[in-house]
């Protein structure tokens, strides 16, 4: 029908043609919108809930708790984290997340926020590393201090752009390696990160999967992603948890906390999100 309309168009004089085109356009738009309304995707039924859940973020309670934890004297050495260097100098939290992961001279390694926190909590506060790792992810029985600290530090970069420098050669290596790992398929399900995160508009069950090969989507995913309040878990989850969870669904063994692999993938993702404005903690299902 549109084709016959098009041919008729050609027969009309120019003034009429414009009006006629507008009419065709309107007809097309109304058809399209009618179609959109009649298409019942599961996402329609979810939309109201997602909108309401985004309005209030219990993750803000974690941010507050994390702030208190950061500044209070704790651990066997009874010290605060006010001397912890997250990359911008001792105790500086504002803007730190926007530049992580980065290379740290004292540990001679590239660290993400969580591996850096481990370093500070062990070195400055005297906590046992194994103990911290055993309590890295909160449960309904026990909150995690790391989750609260990550919520606080993440949110202290709010409204700043993601800005990973890759100025140190090791940071560049982490980025390049992370990229390879992102595309690396393994396990009983033959999955790579890419399997789920390489196309726009895809879902696993009802969960939208950001396309990490597209700038806007990866920016959105990184800058409003982790730390985020997970409704199903009733706690704030971190990027390490997200990677660990993906890894679990890929049927791989438990991912070591703060492993080089996790830092490499995070470096790749965060660098790719450069320029995106940070808004944390996020809210997720």
């Amino acid at each position: 029908m549109l084709i016959s309309l098009f041919f008729r168009c050609r027969l009309l004089n120019k003034q009429k043609q414009a009006g006629f085109l507008a009419m065709v356009l309107m007809l097309f738009l109304s058809l399209a919108s009618g179609l959109a309304q009649s298409l019942e995707t599961p996402q329609d039924g979810l939309a109201i809930g997602r909108q309401l859940l985004a309005e209030d973020n219990p993750g803000d309670l974690w941010t507050e708790r994390g702030k208190r934890l950061f500044h209070s004297n704790r651990g066997p050495k009874n010290k605060s984290l006010e001397t912890c260097d997250l990359g911008l100098g001792p105790g500086i939290t504002k803007g730190a997340f926007a530049q992580l992961p980065r290379y740290f001279n004292d540990t001679k390694s590239v660290q993400d926020l969580e591996s850096r926190l481990l370093t500070c909590m062990v070195e400055i506060q005297g906590f046992a590393r194994a103990e911290l790792i055993s309590r890295r992810f909160g449960t309904l029985d026990q909150d995690s201090d790391i989750e609260a600290l990550v919520a606080f530090i993440g949110s202290d970069s709010n409204n700043l752009p993601m800005n990973i420098g890759l100025s140190h050669p090791l940071e560049r290596v982490m980025y390049e390696t992370g990229k390879i790992l992102f595309y690396r398929r393994s396990g009983p399900l033959d999955f790579a990160c890419m399997t789920c995160h390489g196309e726009t508009g895809k879902r696993v069950r009802l969960q939208d999967l950001p396309n990490m090969t597209k700038k806007e989507e990866i920016q959105q995913a990184v800058t409003t992603g982790w730390p985020a309040y997970r409704g199903t878990h009733s706690t704030v989850r971190t990027m390490q948890h997200r990677l660990s969870d993906c890894n679990w669904q890929m049927r791989l063994p438990d991912l070591n906390y703060a492993s080089d692999l996790s830092v490499a993938i995070t470096t790749f993702l965060n660098y790719s999100a450069n320029g995106g404005l940070i808004k944390l903690p996020g809210v997720r299902r």
Binding site: E176, T177, S186, P188, L189, D190, R205, L209, D254, L255
Partner: protein, 217 residues
């Protein structure tokens, strides 16, 4: 067993990180000096602390290695042939010889997204693995909780019929999707021993049986 663990640990210790530290003193071009691909493998070895048997899951088989294409890469003809041939040879069939089983059992498998996940070094305890289908495919038109990573399979047999050819194709596709489309996103569910031949036959029945909700008028 012990030998494998040692190898695992040693592989990591001897890996690229100390090497990187050495190079890091140099300059910007470090990244181009080192082999990032072997660095990635070293990191994989350092990322898991489970039993050697479970850690083995993270080791790539030759087809997985070929299928880990970077954005600027595409399959060569030889690679395509290798993956396809390996996939075709992997397929085995139920002892009964029947490629369609019980569609009602198939329905349960299709909706079930669990199986073989590892928590704290333990594989989840289940009577059987789910077939994971709904994670990625809409199949029963009434199922709300279905993904879209794969194409919709609603009306599967209404569109394709249920000839022996269709049934054989369906079975083999689920058993090893790479036999038809090398390196596709779909897991090689039979070849990876995630599903048994009998379970696959149940899923085939669910997709093709006229009584199944998939083919509801």
């Amino acid at each position: 067993m012990k030998a494998i663990t040692d190898q695992w640990v040693r592989g990591y210790r001897l890996g690229a990180i100390p090497l990187l530290l050495f190079f890091s003193a140099c300059s910007q071009w470090t990244a181009s000096f080192i082999d990032v691909r072997s660095n990635a493998e070293t990191m994989v070895m350092g990322a898991y602390s489970a039993t050697p048997e479970l850690n083995q899951r993270a080791v790539q088989d030759p087809s997985q290695k070929i299928c880990s294409l970077m954005p600027d890469e595409s399959l060569t003809q030889d690679q395509m042939t290798f993956v396809t041939d390996a996939a075709k040879h992997s397929v085995s069939y139920p002892n009964s010889g029947h490629l369609t089983g019980d569609w009602k059992k198939g329905a349960e498998l299709v909706a079930d997204g669990t199986g073989q996940r590892i928590v704290n070094g333990q594989i989840e305890k289940l009577a059987r693995n789910g077939a994971l289908c709904n994670n990625c495919h809409q199949i029963d038109p009434k199922e709300v909780n279905a993904g879209n990573l794969g194409p919709s399979l609603v009306g599967y047999a209404k569109l394709r019929g249920r000839s022996e050819t269709v049934i054989r194709y369906t079975y083999e596709k689920i058993y090893n999707a790479w036999a038809f489309l090398p390196c596709s996103n779909m897991p090689r569910l039979g070849a990876n021993h995630f599903l048994t031949p009998e379970q696959i036959a149940d899923v085939v029945a669910y997709l093709t049986d006229p009584q199944s909700p998939v083919n509801a008028p």
